[in-house]
């Protein structure tokens, strides 16, 4: 590819969430030229993208604002990165298309000496009867909706699934005026008590959780642990949900179901690291405590592919403060590799280790138990894009010799639709793996779809310079 080194930046960062912004700010401070690409129109990532009037997320860290304005940082919003590759000159090329989803696609590329992937995470969905009804929304999605334009998914919103995000979502919903009859959490919070050491590592996080709990109490929100929404009911829209008690392995306990009226359900079962770009580059992953895959990093946050770093949730779900710390650590490591003086910052490393240990303990507590498939009857659709039911997935395993999500995809089309398994992949993988634990991460060579015209003109793609 004809790339003159003069076009090259020191560092290309994919993802302008807390991790990417923190890395950009640090790198610029250390004198590196940075290009920061993000699919979203505004920086801030999942939690800071929308300045939320009246909500407790607070204004973005001032250093992040600075990152955007720093003359050495070129921020390219609305840039969907579909691939990254190492060119013949040893430089990294990041390939993106511009525009909001679906319109005005324009190819752009950015070349850089180092690459940092700060692509965050997406929500995990475990299906149940009725999960495709209008009024059923992702928990994180509900939070984002609320922050962006203060739209409530309903007036009476049940919050369900598993993970610390549920408490945050419920307290935001309640603060914004929704009635939240219950937060239905599949894990038992008592399990936290079994991991005191790791949890003591991050008292602030515990305090945060306590604050959410207090807020919920104030709003008369009930917290039902060891329980799940095992069905949503309604014809045009959700009207009620069935809540069932769970055994320790998440198997629904017979005779414990009861109905809870509502007009919306916000449901999420934790987050899954977004590793598509990295795994296509050959970066190795590690299996996390909840059976997903996160990027494997060394102490300098470099992936197993030399020259590629990662920070934030793509390396494992650990929250905003871990993302900020990792962004800074990674940027320092990049600077050192490029021959700039940058201190090691052992204190920051220790802080990161603490936050990670806390997050890993939390991830273990909220790991989906294998019994969840007990609330998934054969007739329930698992893949919405291709309308594939749980029964067909099970038949592919039982009768046709599938043993992983990839083969199920080939045999049933589950995960072949527009979302490429981003919604159903976790469920399919867990339904399929012989022990319920997927053996390898899903592979998506294109992180976002790209037109054949763009691919065909790859060698003539202009360099991304100025934001539009």
């Amino acid at each position: 590819m004809p790339t003159s080194p003069s076009d090259a930046r020191d560092l290309a960062i994919v993802g302008a969430g807390p991790a990417g912004l923190s890395a950009a700010a640090t790198a610029a401070r250390l004198g590196l030229t940075v290009t920061l690409l993000d699919a979203a129109p505004r920086p801030g990532g999942q939690i800071r993208r929308h300045p939320a009037p009246g909500l407790r997320t607070g204004p973005p860290d001032p250093s992040l604002r600075r990152a955007q304005l720093h003359p050495l940082v070129r921020h390219l919003p609305r840039h969907h990165v579909w691939s990254a590759a190492r060119g013949e000159t040893g430089l990294w090329t990041v390939h993106a298309v511009t525009g909001d989803d679906g319109d005005g696609e324009r190819p752009v590329r950015v070349t850089a000496r180092a690459l940092l992937l700060a692509t965050g995470a997406h929500e995990r969905h475990l299906p149940f009867p009725g999960w495709t009804l209008p009024g059923v929304v992702g928990a994180g999605g509900a939070q984002a909706m609320l922050k962006s334009d203060l739209v409530l998914p309903g007036r009476r919103v049940v919050v369900a699934g598993s993970g610390p995000l549920l408490l945050a979502v419920a307290s935001s919903l309640a603060a914004a005026g929704a009635r939240v009859p219950a937060v239905v959490e599949a894990a038992g919070y008592l399990r936290y008590a079994r991991r005191p050491a790791a949890l003591a590592a991050d008292p602030r996080k515990l305090a945060e959780g306590a604050a959410h709990l207090a807020a919920l109490l104030r709003h008369h929100v009930r917290l039902l642990t060891r329980s799940a929404v095992t069905a949503a009911h309604g014809t045009d829209r959700v009207e009620a949900v069935t809540v069932t008690r769970l055994g320790p392995d998440w198997r629904p306990l017979p005779g414990t179901a009861r109905r809870l009226p509502c007009d919306a359900l916000a449901v999420g079962h934790g987050l899954v690291p977004q590793t598509d770009l990295a795994t296509t580059l050959g970066c190795a992953t590690r299996r996390t405590a909840d059976g997903t895959f996160a990027l494997l990093l060394d102490d300098d946050l470099e992936t197993t592919v030399r020259g590629v770093w990662a920070a934030g949730e793509s390396a494992g779900v650990a929250g905003e403060r871990a993302a900020l710390a990792e962004g800074e650590l990674a940027a320092r490591a990049v600077a050192r590799r490029l021959g700039r003086p940058a201190a090691l910052s052992p204190a920051l490393r220790r802080r990161r280790a603490r936050l990670r240990a806390f997050a890993d303990a939390m991830t273990a507590v909220h790991a989906p138990g294998p019994g969840w498939t007990g609330w998934l009857p054969d007739a329930t659709e698992v893949c919405r894009c291709e309308e594939v039911t749980a029964g067909r997935v099970r038949a592919a395993v039982r009768d046709l010799g599938a043993r992983d999500a990839r083969t199920v995809k080939l045999l049933t089309r589950a995960g072949m639709g527009w979302c490429q398994g981003r919604t159903c992949g976790q469920a399919v993988a867990r339904l399929t793996a012989p022990d319920g634990r997927p053996a390898a991460p899903e592979r998506r060579p294109f992180a976002v779809p790209v037109t054949l015209g763009t691919l065909a003109a790859l060698d003539d793609t202009p360099h991304g310079k100025e934001p539009r």
Binding site: S83, R403, D404, T407, L452
Partner: protein, 398 residues
Amino acid sequence: MVLAVSPTRPPDVIVVGAGAVGAACAYHAARAGLSVTVVDRGPVAGGTTGAGEGNLLVSDKEPGPELHLALLSTDLWRELADALPPDIEYEAKGGLVVAPDAGRLDALRALAAAQSAAGAEARPVPAAALRDLEPHLAPGLAGGVHYPQDAQVMPALAAARLLRASGAALRLGEEVTALLTTAAGRVRGVRTTRGDLHAPCVVNAAGAWAGSLGRAAGAGLPVRPRRGFVLVTEPLPRVVRHKVYTADYVADVAADTAALRTSTVVEGTAAGPVLVGASRELTGYDRTLSLPALRRLAAGAVALFPVLAGVRALRTYAGFRPCLPDRLPAIGPDPRLPGLVHACGHEGAGIGLAPATGLLVTRALTGGELPAWARAFRPERFATAPKEPRPETPTPPR
């Protein structure tokens, strides 16, 4: 995992590999009354069968043994389409080979005439009539040849359905680590990661990995992986009706080179996505995405069907064609190791050629003679003759 009831006494034959070729061998062997166990280290269709396309072509075969095998397979696939569930997506859609200029058209027509003489259906299509067959084809092509016998299946489902119909015992997630032999030098089974399995015959249908299966027992084959990428688009209404490819494809298949070669192969599928191929390169078992390969595939597709320029590719994948030095498969008993029967090395045609391969293998398993034309596939041809590259086809390479 053992899917079917495993027989208490040893099976008559163990098939190594649950791809299209192994599945077809199991199917035909079972129909001939043999009891069959299929062993695969992965799932069904987890190898190249799940990473390629499902064209059943006569159009790309040169007259001779390979075309023989293809024509036999064409008939067998038609019968299988009736015998197996419809989800194998068999479609007798026909192939259209196009030539961009007069020189390549002459060569294509010459090939077609020879194929016709050997029993294939091949109908020259003048430039003006190309768009009657494919309305979205780019203008300016010199002409083409229509092959009505070319058809298509969904390879993974075809393999899975063949295996299920065979009733063979399936042992998945179990890797074969060695062949077991008797003191007299006969096969007596396989050693796997879970123990020993005994059978008087073993079929090597291990695809791109088949070369090493018999090596320790002195019955290796020079199979190499020839990597190919496929681009898959978003679902479309029928924009591409046939399998459409450029005349260069045949030369690419035959080419004796490690470097990246691409020719343009475009086809619609029953489910809507359009598949774009075909690249060929010898890079070992390396799945790393190659943007240069994808660029060339996309450019070729857009040149042939300009409407595809605005269509999105949702995914891409790489597969390893099992490739022998002369690009012909190895089918038949291995005289170096009695009891071992090879069924591998089908390069880019293993789906199409699977049923006829299964039939020949079953003939060998039941002690029958293979027909004279099948001598070209004898596994021992590599043990004796020095490696001589196969001559290029009449199609002049680009």
